[in-house]
Symmetry: C2
Subunit: 455 residues, 2 copies
């Protein structure tokens, strides 16, 4: 074995929600090869043995929607109306971005995410090739995509160049993986057939911004490209009331219905936010198996609204959990996001039984993986899946006593309780020390960039 | 000097919200004696010099409402309707409580609170003398009070004995403090006149449970005792819709109006929760200068509702922040509570400008102190106040870059970022090591108690 993690409660998050007390997980060639109770472990040799010290061994968390490099703008402007925040603070700051700044901001985000138990994230931003590089350099799993819209971006002049940029990213990460093409990354393939190299870390998605910043032609072209490459298609949908009103005025329908009308809804579509949905919208999501990335903290902070998640779950819609970017959260801690999600929907529906701890944890693990089309390789601890595993320390006052690990993970833990993290079989954090990122120099550099941003 | 904390951004939370970059705070005999910029520090001698390393030096947080010993029930039951949760899980568990268990649970809570930056808490529970002892032994500042209701409690037979228990606590902590009587603890006294000993840590309050578990005679007797002793009067008010409906049926009015009618409202009253208030209720609070302890996470988790905090703040009502007990939160981290409070009210009012970061921080510091009648001795960093001070580390990925410390404290930090804590001039945590609590043995003992609770 390469790595054995022992002496912990294994929460597999598999379809039976199997739990093994005093269990272990063994990893070889990046893959999970054994799961069992520690008694069975006698005689097993491993290069690296990690003692969970009675803590929790679980799949790494999956951030279904973020803009990693926006760490650069953390706390630059808060508590403002959306348009003032965007036009007077975020857009002017983004106009100054350079590819290297985007890389550095994403690197900081990777450090923060690994430190808080996230092993995979889905990103949308400018100069996204830099985000892919930052994730790869940090040994993080990521779904990456250049944001596409009708007008020129700091990254490309016309939209044609935007699509070329996406195609170049697809080429780069396809060729790099050697054995692997996009269609293998994104599909419900038989996981046993695949010998995925470490280059499978990066999946390139197609990411048109939204129905209000993309015309129908752009959206359809993006959907076609995603279909052709079996890639995820990522888009913001119905985040705010004003967006919905704008689309209603322009097209006479809701954003979701508009996407259905132009043929863009499909099982590879991740509809981020999806706050203001009608019953009909949700039926369309159900019909087309559209996935949702739910970002409760960002939606709260920007006063966007509360997504009808309990209703979506009733309909069997797959909902993952995302932090959104750091300018509207302002952290990337999915443990706190689970807590907020579970509590927000209880009070908003005045029903303490909606969205229990297990459901919140599924959203942040296996359902996030499913949303991104990566559930055959990550999101749960199962033999044959890639080893994306975290260890959560439970020897701290706020994690004592232990009646129910699901409860503690959602309602008591924060990302800081994660002691160890393994991504794709590689140890990326041990005892809270980052092993793939020189975090001090990244923090220094980001602070310098921040000085230039506000200058 | 006894202690000097230097090389940090001092956020005083005083009435001018003064901020000193590269500042220091000096402590002598438990009191804050100097505040200034580090340049002025040349030549100052101190027994203990704490380097904030460019972090934030700020007042310790004040938890305005909790049931500390309920750490024993953390995660024992979640995601249930209130009555099922109370009757089938919490009440049966509480029936088993012993004084020593209450002490041990409170000790665990003190450890968790100190580790997350809280220096003062207001408690209501059974066997409260044990909570007072746990706080005193941990060197924490606390407002403590035995819960009083019409029926026998595990601590007392009839209510007469409940009042005797409170009187005994008042005697004990009054006599212990020597120079200090209750009327000095609770008042807007001139802080310069007072030479408070370390025994001023414990303030005894009078704490009838609620309008639905206490008859009018009990409530009036409690109010009278509190008035006589200039003590805080702590009560749950309008936490749930069913409570309000019950009081409406019984007395024909809202809980707040009922308290006004029987003469219980006053400036020493802390109305915990206050979720379901009418405009008239808030006018009564305003008229009588009633204080509110707002517990958003508990109210969310139990699906109780959202308190009209923005409206209360508009009316100038003093609102502190509380975590409530660990059975309904499930942690005691006030940093996370600030974050939730700020976000919840934004989305609930669909207005991103309500309850900004500074306001959330005031609720958890100076306004919490004011709510508990302790604002002349704690809640801000001012010369002459007792030294309740924490240092927040900002050298972590989720706290970088630094544009605005208020934003980071509310939207990015968690209690885990607190490195050092001083209460009443005593160092109780340094570099995250607890100095007044043997936390390992407390955790072990709580885990043993938990085994007996579920047996």
């Amino acid at each position: 074995m390469d790595i054995v993690i022992k002496n912990g409660t294994v929460l597999t998050m598999d379809s039976q929600m199997r739990r093994i007390d005093k269990g272990y997980v063994a990893v070889k060639d990046g893959q999970i090869v054994q799961i069992g109770s520690s008694e069975q472990l006698v005689g097993t040799q491993a290069l690296e043995v990690i003692d969970a010290n009675g803590g929790i061994i679980m799949p790494g968390l999956i951030n279904s929607h973020t803009h990693a490099s926006m760490t650069l703008f953390r706390g630059i402007a808060d508590d403002l109306p959306l348009m003032e925040w965007l036009n007077n603070h975020i857009f002017p700051a983004e106009a100054k971005l350079t590819p290297h700044w985007v890389y550095t901001g994403a690197k900081l985000a990777c450090a923060e995410m690994i430190l808080s138990g996230t092993t995979c994230f889905c990103d949308m931003y400018l100069f996204e090739a830099e985000v892919a590089k930052a994730a790869y350099d940090s040994s993080m799993r990521a779904v990456v995509g250049e944001v596409l819209y009708d007008f020129p971006s700091p990254c490309y002049g016309e939209i044609k160049q935007g699509f070329e940029y996406v195609a170049a990213m697809m080429d780069k990460w396809k060729s790099k993986s050697g054995i692997l093409d996009q269609s293998q990354i994104y599909s419900n393939r038989d996981k046993n057939d695949l010998n995925i190299s470490s280059n499978s870390l990066i999946t390139v998605a197609v990411e048109p911004h939204s129905t209000y910043l993309c015309n129908p032609e752009l959206l359809q072209k993006a959907a076609e490209l995603a279909r052709k490459n079996s890639s995820p298609l990522i888009i913001h949908v119905a985040e705010t009331l004003s967006e919905s009103a704008q689309i209603k005025e322009k097209y006479g329908v809701t954003p979701a219905k508009f996407l259905a009308d132009i043929g863009v809804l499909g099982s590879n579509l991740v509809a981020c936010h999806s706050v203001h949905l009608t019953e009909e919208d949700m039926e369309l999501y159900q019909k087309f198996d559209v996935k949702v990335a739910h970002c409760p903290e960002s939606n709260m902070k920007l006063a966007s609204g509360v997504a009808p998640v309990p209703r979506m779950l009733e309909k069997g819609i797959c909902v993952g959990l995302g932090t959104d970017g750091c300018a509207s959260n302002n952290d990337l801690d999915l443990f706190l996001e689970m807590d907020t999600a579970a509590k927000l929907h209880k009070v908003f529906s005045m029903n303490p039984e909606v969205l229990n701890a297990e459901t919140a944890l599924k959203m942040a693990t296996i359902n996030g993986a499913r949303a991104l089309g990566l559930d055959s390789i990550t999101g749960s601890i199962e033999v044959g899946k890639r080893a994306d595993i975290i260890v959560v320390n439970t020897s701290a006052p706020h994690m004592v006593p232990m009646y129910n690990p699901y409860s503690h993970l959602v309602y008591s833990a924060s990302g800081n309780d994660v002691s160890t993290s393994i991504i794709d079989g590689k140890l990326v954090m041990k005892d809270r020390k980052l092993l793939t990122i020189d975090v001090e120099s990244v923090m220094d550099e980001v602070q310098e960039i921040a000085g230039l941003i506000v200058k």
